[in-house]
């Protein structure tokens, strides 16, 4: 099968961001003053646990950001490959049966039958109302009512043993690596890991890895034969939908920051450093922007974009490209509305730094302003930037849901927690109630935001000099 890679705008930016982060990690490893606070972060149990869960979300998001169009040849095309109009991601391929096993309509989690009755004509001509069997879920069961519980139990136990074995192997390898790192024999290292005698809580890392591996294997065992979060109105697997929403949440949470950072850092340090007229202008700009209610500015800009897209249908080759443009636009607009807070903080900090002796000395030695800013001011405000970035992340993920509900969030065709919650509103009003899409969106969104909140707390505690002392 031939494929044609598709690089959406947000994909490109995500990988750019990944490069920036890798560069920062390499840079931070070489500098002791940056390594010290990070060491403090890894000593925290909560930071360790949340980092493991965040890593799972990030891996899902990254896999879901490699897009391509599948190629196919038809007899009529004479060897010329045509490409499907549908853009798929590597993640779709990995979880392949999930995205394709569509049922007819709503079905409850782990159900083997549809949620609503259908009319069926029996062989003897009688008309009855029955719950029809699902096309894909539970089709390995001959007698679903009796066998389902036993089947789920076997799968649960199988996942448990698999996870246990995998966990022992991984733990053994990690301890082996640690023996070399700490230069002690295997037995001693193992005992010290188990009794949390090292500064880094390796046991916490191992236990949370174990939980993650178990959940992953359990999902593999169960999701291949059941819809573990049921199906939605058009019969799509809700679990698949919520996994796809991970990327949307991450894109909003991270790319917004990428958009806003240059503005905030450049303008904030300029205003604080130069003062005078430049300061007045920059202050005027951010006061004006921050005085407009954020959601209204976003709404105005998204309405403008909608009209632009409606008037230029040719500019977008696929539905995915159109949805992606809207996602990117949302990030840009959120960035424009949210840089003012960080800019104000950086301005204040630069004002303070400007009066410091070492900067006065640099002035006296004739160092150019450009160099003073890049070499003396910027490194000293970086902790503020880092704290602001991680604190903003969870707020932005939550904001996506609200904006999608208002109708100015991501494109309706993009899978996102906001869109899922939005449709859940009507589903809750149904009789009988359809509650599982809301539950799925809730669990995943809560897990991501909680992990991000706990991790950002640990970062703030380690980097904020006021808290550290």
């Amino acid at each position: 099968m031939t494929i044609q890679p598709v690089i959406l705008w947000t994909d490109a930016l995500i990988y750019l961001l990944l490069l920036v982060i890798i560069f920062f990690v390499v840079y931070a490893r070489k500098h002791e003053h940056l390594r010290t606070p990070w060491r403090l972060v890894w000593r925290s149990h909560l930071a360790m646990i949340s980092a493991v869960f965040l890593a799972v979300f990030v891996i899902i998001g990254l896999l879901d950001s490699i897009h391509f169009r599948a190629g196919f040849e038809t007899p009529a095309s004479n060897g010329v490959t045509h490409y499907s109009g549908e853009v798929e991601s590597l993640f779709d391929k990995l979880v392949a049966p999930l995205g394709e096993n569509d049922e007819k309509s709503y079905s409850a989690p782990f159900a083997t039958h549809l949620y609503s009755k259908e009319t069926k004509i029996l062989a003897n001509g009688r008309v009855v109302q029955v719950y029809p069997r699902l096309k894909y879920a539970g089709k390995q069961l001959a007698n679903p009512e009796l066998d389902r519980a036993a089947d789920m139990q076997t799968r649960f136990i199988r996942a448990f043993w698999q996870a246990g074995l995998l966990w022992i192997v991984v733990s053994g390898l990690l301890v082996l690596r640690l023996t070399r790192y700490y230069g002690e024999n295997y037995r001693l290292t193992l005992v010290k890991v188990l009794r949390l005698r090292y500064q880094v809580p390796w046991l916490t890392l191992l236990l949370s890895l174990g939980v993650v591996v178990f959940l992953l294997l359990l999902a593999i065992q169960l999701a291949t034969v059941y819809h573990i979060f049921g199906t939605d109105k058009v019969g799509q697997d809700v679990f698949y939908e919520t996994l796809k929403s991970v990327r949307t949440g991450l894109v909003i949470g991270t790319l917004t920051t990428l958009v806003m950072l240059p503005f905030a850092v450049f303008l904030g340090t300029m205003a604080g450093f130069f003062g005078g007229r430049i300061d007045d202008i920059i202050q005027y700009v951010y006061t004006t922007l921050s005085s407009i209610p954020g959601v209204l500015l976003i709404a105005a800009a998204i309405l403008a974009l909608q009209i632009f897209v409606a008037n230029h249908p040719d500019a977008f080759s696929t539905i995915a490209a159109r949805a992606d443009t809207r996602l990117l636009a949302l990030c840009v607009i959120l960035g424009v509305t949210s840089w003012t807070g960080l800019c104000r903080m950086l301005r204040g900090e630069t004002l303070k730094l400007r009066e410091m002796d070492y900067i006065q000395a640099a002035h006296a030695l004739g160092v150019r302003s450009r160099h003073i800013i890049t070499r003396h001011v910027l490194p000293n405000v970086m902790h503020i930037v880092l704290i602001a970035v991680v604190l903003d992340f969870s707020a932005l993920v939550l904001a996506e849901a609200v904006l999608s509900y208002v109708g100015v969030g991501v494109d309706p065709t993009t899978m996102s927690w906001g869109n899922m919650i939005n449709s859940a509103r009507l589903e809750l009003a149904r009789e009988p109630v359809v509650w599982w899409p809301l539950l799925a969106a809730f669990i995943f969104m809560f897990a991501l935001v909680l992990a991000a909140n706990l991790f950002s707390d640990a970062i703030r505690d380690a980097f904020d000099p006021r808290i550290r002392k």
């Binding site: 700009v285 105005a300 409606a310 927690w417 809301l438 706990l454």
Partner: protein
């Protein structure tokens, strides 16, 4: 003091002009009136005559900044910018795209918004302060740590879940209060009760954690140590001395949002069917009624700036060390 306030109001003018020009650009230059007409009339089978009619009906058929067809001052006043934007400065909001008087709508709808937002603010403030005081009193113990973790957990739940969950649980399952709707006068109480409770619960996590850090900063100060050294009980220190000083940052943080209470809460109002300005705005966004969105942007900015000025004044009232000049 008076001179300072007057000067602050004068400073507000260029900011409001900036807001005005920005929204004008978003609504008239990025989207031309032709686009707006097409959005309202539907994309297909729209004749240019229909577009011209729509523009003329809604007063969008004028040039942007300068009208060469009329002479003198009229050249500037008979334009879109003057007709649609300058009027806002006199709080003349004009007519919505659906033909209603926006000013009258706003006057009528701001009271239900206030009836919901004010109790949420006051009850929320009281709850947050109480929880924060408790956590500060038991600081360092397991009670404090559990409280902080609970706050982070509550912060991590989307506001939408609080609303949907609360509405479903209390309104639909327990049938305690109506799910949505509104009534005037005292009858409004039963409609507002559930939204207020949900609003307070939704804000308690972030609020009490923030107030707790304010207390803890205050507790480490010298005057607190002096108080304890004099032999005052921990309760007296906390409630008589720390609380008063910690209220300074808390109150000034609250004052800035007081004027914006009139704007209401977008989510709450639309979920609970309260006819306030929040649901008004959401409806306008969903119906693409640009005139209303423009009016609300301007009103929001004005109220925000008023809030900033009130904050500065409140600083001088609660902290005599601060003088405005």
């Amino acid at each position: 003091m008076l001179a300072y306030i007057i000067r602050r109001f004068i400073y507000a003018i260029p900011i409001l002009i900036g807001v005005n020009v920005l929204t004008f650009m978003l609504f008239f230059i990025v989207n031309s009136p032709d686009d707006m007409a097409r959005a309202h009339l539907g994309q297909k089978h729209v004749t240019s005559q229909a577009i011209a009619n729509w523009k003329q009906q809604h007063g969008y058929d004028k040039p942007l900044f300068y009208n060469p067809q009329t002479s003198g001052v009229n050249g500037y006043s008979d334009t879109l910018f003057f007709q649609k934007s300058v009027g806002l400065f006199a709080f003349d909001f004009g007519v919505s795209d659906a033909g209603r008087d926006i000013g009258a709508d706003i006057k009528q709808r701001m009271w239900p918004s206030l009836a919901l937002a004010l109790p949420v603010l006051l009850v929320g403030l009281l709850t947050n302060i109480t929880f924060a005081m408790l956590m500060a009193f038991f600081r360092g113990t397991y009670l404090d740590i559990t409280g902080v973790i609970l706050c982070v957990v509550m912060m991590s739940v989307s506001a939408l879940f609080y609303i949907i969950g609360g509405q479903y649980l209390v309104g639909k399952l327990l049938h305690l209060v109506p799910i949505s709707g509104y009534d005037t006068g005292l009858q409004a109480f039963k409609f507002v009760l559930l939204p207020v409770i949900i609003g307070v619960i939704g804000g308690v996590g972030a609020g009490s954690r923030w107030y707790r850090t304010i207390y803890l900063e205050e507790i480490n100060k010298d005057y607190v140590r002096t108080g304890r050294a004099k032999g005052l009980s921990e309760l007296t220190v906390l409630f008589k001395h720390v609380l008063k000083n910690a209220l300074v940052p808390i109150l000034t943080g609250v004052v800035v949002v007081i004027p914006t209470l009139f704007l209401g809460s977008l989510l709450m109002e639309s979920f609970f069917g309260i006819p306030g300005l929040g649901s008004y705005t959401i409806d306008a966004i969903q119906q693409q009624d640009f005139a209303i969105v423009r009016a609300m942007v301007f009103l929001g900015s004005v109220l925000y700036i008023v809030g900033l000025i009130l904050t500065d004044i409140s600083y001088t009232l609660v902290d005599p060390r601060i003088r405005l000049q």
